[in-house]
Symmetry: C2
Subunit: 195 residues, 2 copies
């Protein structure tokens, strides 16, 4: 058997993931059958499941990458760009997340894997970044970073629903209200009174 | 054929709706087959579809009632009680809404019926109520009621996702941030500086 180079391995893996993402987006999580995954990826089930043991593994790897990407945008470019990145996401793909919401509540093993998408180091990095922003007076400091994160989680999920439903989210108002409400008292009062 | 009294008609209709709601919550929108609707409601398909022509009609009637109920809470009891009502809703039932999100974007006829759930008079009533609140200095007046409504729509959808996924939404932080951000400038500054 010929030895496959690392480069070829990476390429194969990326090809499988890209095809799986298209397949999930097109058919939904439940509609992405093995036959359809084969068609969209252009490889046999044997070749696909050699790299990812199950359909769930494929989805979780894609969701982990999304999570990393969004967190990187947040840490490097801030909240506004994060919200814009969610709004610009493919609505079909966002809809796949809604397909698994019910399983998150009813399938404990899936829930646990889902919650592990975000590595502890990344979570720490985000908390550290928020604390820096609080110390620098750019983020309100009367709430814990965890509380702010949970609030933003609700906003992000709501945005995903509206995009998946084909509505234009009220982007400018949302950016204004969210950044305002997370600003320290003085900055916010200034913004409001000068408006 | 015996004549059915108005009371008996109402009772029959309510029984069908209550059973359909349980069936949707238990099996999801797509899983609520005619056989399962018959089982859960305890009536034959002929008896059920004599009252509601299609499964879609059943769902839209239930969604319209939810919408009326939530709007009434909003107008009569305010934002905090509205958010609490969403959080207290059955997570299985909230999940049914996520099942139809994709159709809202891809099925124009369904989308149009969905958008008509909210009668124009009710929308006017809510806008009038918001304008009253603005005039009384209880609601920020630098945004249009429609903009405020869209912002709240994102928050409500996000809450529904988190509940359907079995997460405890950050209720107290959310209530604090949302009421604060919608308060007029002075009230908000006072709340923040005295905290």
């Amino acid at each position: 058997m010929p030895k496959i180079s690392e480069e070829a391995k990476t390429e194969r893996r990326e090809r499988i993931l890209a095809g799986a993402r298209r397949c999930f987006a097109r058919h939904g999580y439940n509609g992405a059958t093995v036959v359809r995954l084969e068609e969209e990826i252009g490889l046999s089930r044997g070749a696909i499941f050699n790299w990812f043991a199950t359909k769930e593994d494929l989805f979780l790897e894609l969701a982990t990458r999304d999570n990393n990407r969004i967190n990187t945008i947040w840490v490097e470019r801030g909240l506004e760009d994060t919200i814009r990145a969610i709004v610009e996401e493919d609505p079909d793909w966002l809809g796949v997340y809604l397909d698994v919401v019910h399983r998150l509540r009813t399938d404990a093993a899936f829930r646990e894997r889902w919650d592990q998408r975000m590595p502890k180091e990344q979570e720490n990095e985000i908390v550290a970044r928020m604390k820096q922003e609080q110390a620098a007076g750019h983020l309100r400091s009367d709430l814990e970073p965890e509380q702010i994160g949970k609030f933003l989680g609700v906003v992000f999920d709501g945005l995903a629903v509206q995009r998946a439903a084909g509505y234009d989210p009220p982007l400018e108002v949302l950016l204004q209200l969210v950044t305002e409400t997370l600003a320290p008292v003085r900055a916010r009062t200034r913004a409001r009174t000068s408006a």
